[in-house]
Amino acid sequence: MIHSLFLISHAGDLFLEKHWKSVISRSVCDYFFEAKEKAGDPENVAPVLQTPHHYLISIYRGKLFFLSVTQTEVPPLFVIEFLHRVADTFQDYFGECSESVIKENTVTVYELLEEMLDNGFPLATESNVLKEMIRPPTILRSVVNTLTGGSNVGGILPTGQLSNVPWRRVGVKYTNNEAYFDVIEEIDAILDKSGTTVFAEIQGVIEACVKLSGMPDLTLSFMNPRLLDDVSFHPCVRFKRWESERVMSFIPPDGNFRLMSYHVSSQNLVAIPVYVKQNISFLETGSCGRLDITIGPKQTMGKMVEGLMVTIPMPKSVLSVNLIATQGTYTFDLTTKVVLWDVGKLNPQKLPNLRGSLSMQVGAPKPEENPSINIDLKIQQLAISGLKVSRLDMYGEKYKPFKGVKYVTKAGKFQVRT
């Protein structure tokens, strides 16, 4: 199925290759480099390329291309999902998924890739199972290893692989038994010039950190489960129970994991936390322009908007900006032409404002398109969809665990057109 994998940096350096069947020469990547050249921006490279003898399926993540080579027809969704799983695993193991980290941990990467696929077919992809076979590198362990010659390879067969609950190992023991759930929601929205919502959607996830001894069986219920569209669960959740009663019942994996992800897409349910009054204009003559942006709170349910950050990619013909911010600081990157305004907390009494003039290249035509404004923000203690966890019960074990739920709302792809 997946014949080979090449890792390529965004500059076009091929720095790691792995073959699960016969060795395919690196020259196969030339087709990819050609396409990359043509696309200009690395983001614009099409994910599937056809060459005379192979298909090249690639994903672009963390400034890296994961390029897989297949010789036969394959289900594309399968391969793409798998490549993302590989990237997720690296992220999980090394904290980030970047060229330098992968080069540093070449050996672990090879070991992981060897375990994840056999003969081109996925073998072990569950992070818990992998972690028992190949322990993730930590500073302490690498120091110990270099001193003693120990290794990061697990000596025993992962027990999880044979148990009925493949995502949890047996015999977990903690002195403090605790279970934390983070409800994280991201608003993806496009607002038009006048402030009306063109498109809005909430992408939510529940990240869990469960440190419970034994084999606990948890039940998590919501106040308003009907809000959720398109839920996607960790394999541990009993789907039948969710379908019939709208409760999540599961035996949790040990440690950190993503319990579920969901969408809330019906527009009237998506509250837009801030409004933006903006005016960006370029004068036909005189090679200058004006910018005036004010941000105010809209539907914040009484919570404070924090970490407000405004990014405006300016047209290429803008040479410099001369702006005054009533709150926070702004920077203008001369090479990328991006204005970054770090506002901080949003004070409803005194609305932050950024205004001033833009100077343009002399003689350049008036930009065809007004820049769009991207907004980043954070609201603590609020899930903007209104989702609330009502209770968490534990069965199967006798101790009393410590339980906690945290809510946070962030802006995802939140943009305002001008």
């Binding site: 672009y60 090879y110 073998l123 390879v153 496009i190």
Partner: protein, 636 residues
């Protein structure tokens, strides 16, 4: 600079590997081996170190073993004799009490892929099939497939195949799925693993235990099964129902594919299945991964070919966001075109209008041609947007708009008034030959309504000597001829000059031939010329062609969940803007009264893809079938 210092590195490492001091210190030895792997991953050719690495294989250190195996698997084919030495160590490892070591050894042994080693590998593999530990069985099962691939011509060992079939009932789900995969490969020539009723039911019942990769695999294999009765079919369908709404796109797609192929005779059930996956498909379109979004969009395009109304109300999901890559934007626009209906047309056009001025020219062009496509059913609104875009005076936008208008008037002749008004002044902005060509065609077609048409053509004729493109010259000839027919006084002189140039000085055969043809045609008299050049236009009574007719699902079901819908990204947009299906469909109609001889010519037009563009160009220019031209030519 690993590429430059490659030889040095190899030498240095070889010295270190054969240094007895290092060999006696396991830690330093392992680090040296590590250096080899580092160098290998940087693209240095380290195959010279083969014999040293074979020696390094004999160790108790699992990590070092793994590293050496990585090396050996990459270079074994270069050194088959030396590889024999490794086999002994590997066979010993196959008897290790630790199942991890056993499976590693077995996997490495089969990954060496040397035909000469087959005889040594078979025995441990057979033992591996009956191993206590599931992870060894998983490896052993796939090992047989690898072994088979090494000797493709050899006979298939029936006992092994039987054993693999019996392992389909293994308690470990991964072993079961690997058995399927192995059997598929080994029995490829016989059409893959036999899918009969007991196997199907067994696989379906255990589907839930598999991981998502296994599930997709099983579902794909099951497509070959044909249920014996309707009851059985419905039993299977209800079992599959929950995977149909699986949160994992690969599983969802595989299930849908199986559903559709099982229900090929029950359109109502297929329809219901499509409705049911709608939510999951839309979720995949909003997925965080852009590659996933792209693939989902491509598959949605497939579905829309049969069920155009499926996603009409969800059109907002396909609006492009600022930072999306161009290939996704293009697909989204193609989907939007399919989703247009009376309620959302205003919103969609508004949105598309915003994309027309995108920084990325490909995206802008795609948006403009998308508006053109919508214009076939909602011409007024689209014409307003398109003519508005001409006002921007940007060369690339104007070029795309003129090309789009060209296609639009061909399908909807009622737009011609607005279009001919809008053409004034375009020639100054246009830079590329495709745009100019489209403009020329429009001028030839509607010259009598564009007051500046002769002057525009004159500038082109003056510059014909420096014109490189063949198509431009052909188009210019035809347009001038047509304009001559409706405005002879202003055009006569320049037509004379153009014909003279084309016949006497032009070096290209096609242009010369075409010019001669026109010249002789003019000799036959003005009436005759008019008959040929201004024959029937596309008949307005045919009405507006709205999109493609819906296709039956089984037309595309075989390419669902394959790479097929993702391919030919660029070609598809090309056909969408130029030779769209409507054009071909409209060819045969006006000609029904013409002689029989014509039919074969038309067939040729349709079949010889390469010639199509040129033929079609001529054809569009003349509005009469090419064979008439040719017949006339022969008569002369």
């Amino acid at each position: 600079m690993p590429y430059l210092s490659g030889k040095e590195t190899v030498k240095e490492i070889r010295r270190a590997l054969s240094n007895p001091n290092i060999q006696s210190d396991p830690l330093r030895y392992r680090n040296t081996v590590l250096k080899v792997i580092r160098a290998m991953s940087q693209g240095v050719d380290v195959s010279d170190l083969f014999s040293e690495m074979v020696k390094a294989c004999a160790t108790v250190d699992v990590v070092q073993k793994k590293l050496v195996y990585v090396f050996l698997c990459s270079y074994a084919h270069l050194n088959p004799e030396l590889s024999l030495l490794v086999v002994n160590t590997l066979r010993k490892d196959c008897l290790d009490p630790n199942p991890m070591v056993r499976s590693l050894a077995l996997r490495s042994m089969t990954n060496l892929r040397l035909p000469s080693l087959v005889e040594y590998v078979e025995q441990p593999l057979t033992a591996g099939l009956r191993d206590r530990a599931a992870c060894v069985r998983r490896v052993a099962v796939l090992g047989w497939a690898k072994l088979h691939n090494l000797q493709p011509g050899s006979e298939i060992d029936a006992t092994v195949v039987n054993e693999l079939y019996s392992l389909l009932r293994d308690p470990d789900p991964v072993v079961m799925v690997n058995c399927l995969r192995a059997l598929e490969e080994i029995l490829k020539e016989e059409g893959g693993v036999v899918i009969n009723k007991p196997i199907t039911h067994h696989l379906l019942n255990r589907l839930k235990e598999c991981d998502i990769w296994g599930q997709s695999e099983v579902l794909r294999v099951l497509q070959r099964y044909r249920p014996q009765s309707e009851d059985e079919l419905f039993d299977i369908l209800s079992l599959l129902d929950s995977s149909l709404v699986s949160p994992h796109p690969p599983v969802m797609a595989a299930t849908l594919c199986l559903f559709l192929s099982l229900c090929s005779s029950l359109p109502a059930v297929s329809q219901a299945a499509l409705e049911r996956v709608r939510g999951s498909l839309l979720a995949a379109c909003g997925s965080g991964s852009r590659e996933m979004r792209f693939t989902a969009l491509c598959h949605i395009q497939l579905l829309l070919r049969s069920v155009p109304g499926l996603l009409g109300e969800h059109y907002k999901r396909f609006f492009c966001s600022y930072a999306e890559p161009a290939y996704i934007k293009r697909r989204k626009m193609q989907v939007l075109v399919e989703l247009v209906n009376d309620e959302n047309v205003v919103m969609i056009l508004d949105e598309l209008k915003g994309y027309c001025t995108d920084v990325n020219t490909d995206t802008a062009q795609a948006a403009i041609s998308a508006i053109g496509r919508i214009g076939r059913s909602y011409s007024d609104k689209c014409l307003e947007i398109l003519t508005g875009l001409l006002g921007l005076k940007r060369d690339q936008i104007t070029s795309a708009v003129v090309q789009t208008l060209c296609d639009l008037v061909w399908v909807c002749p009622q737009c011609s008034d607005t279009v001919s008004l809008a053409l004034e002044g375009c020639e100054e902005v246009l830079q590329d030959s495709q745009g100019k060509q489209a403009l020329l065609w429009l001028l030839g077609m509607y010259g009598e309504r564009v007051s500046s048409a002769p002057y525009t053509l004159e500038t082109f004729i003056d510059g014909v000597r420096s014109e490189a493109s063949l198509e431009m010259k052909m188009e210019l000839l035809t347009s001038t001829m047509k304009l001559f027919l409706c405005r002879p006084a202003e055009t006569q002189d320049m037509l004379g000059r153009l014909l003279h140039y084309c016949i006497e000085e032009e070096r290209d055969m096609c242009v010369r031939g075409q010019a001669l043809l026109y010249y002789r045609l003019l000799h036959c008299g003005i009436e005759e010329t008019r008959n040929v050049l201004q024959g029937r236009r596309s008949d307005p009574s045919m009405g507006v062609l709205i999109g493609r007719p819906t296709e039956p699902i089984n037309r595309w079901v075989s390419s669902f969940n394959t790479l097929e819908p993702l391919k030919h990204c660029s070609v598809e947009t090309e056909s969408a803007s130029r030779g769209s299906p409507e054009h071909l469909a409209s060819i045969p109609k006006p000609n029904t009264d013409l002689p029989d001889k014509l039919d074969c010519r038309q067939l040729e037009i349709v079949h010889s893809e390469e010639q199509l563009t040129i033929w079609e160009l001529n054809f569009r220019a003349l509005n009469v079938p090419t064979s008439v031209q040719i017949a006339k030519f022969i008569k002369q």
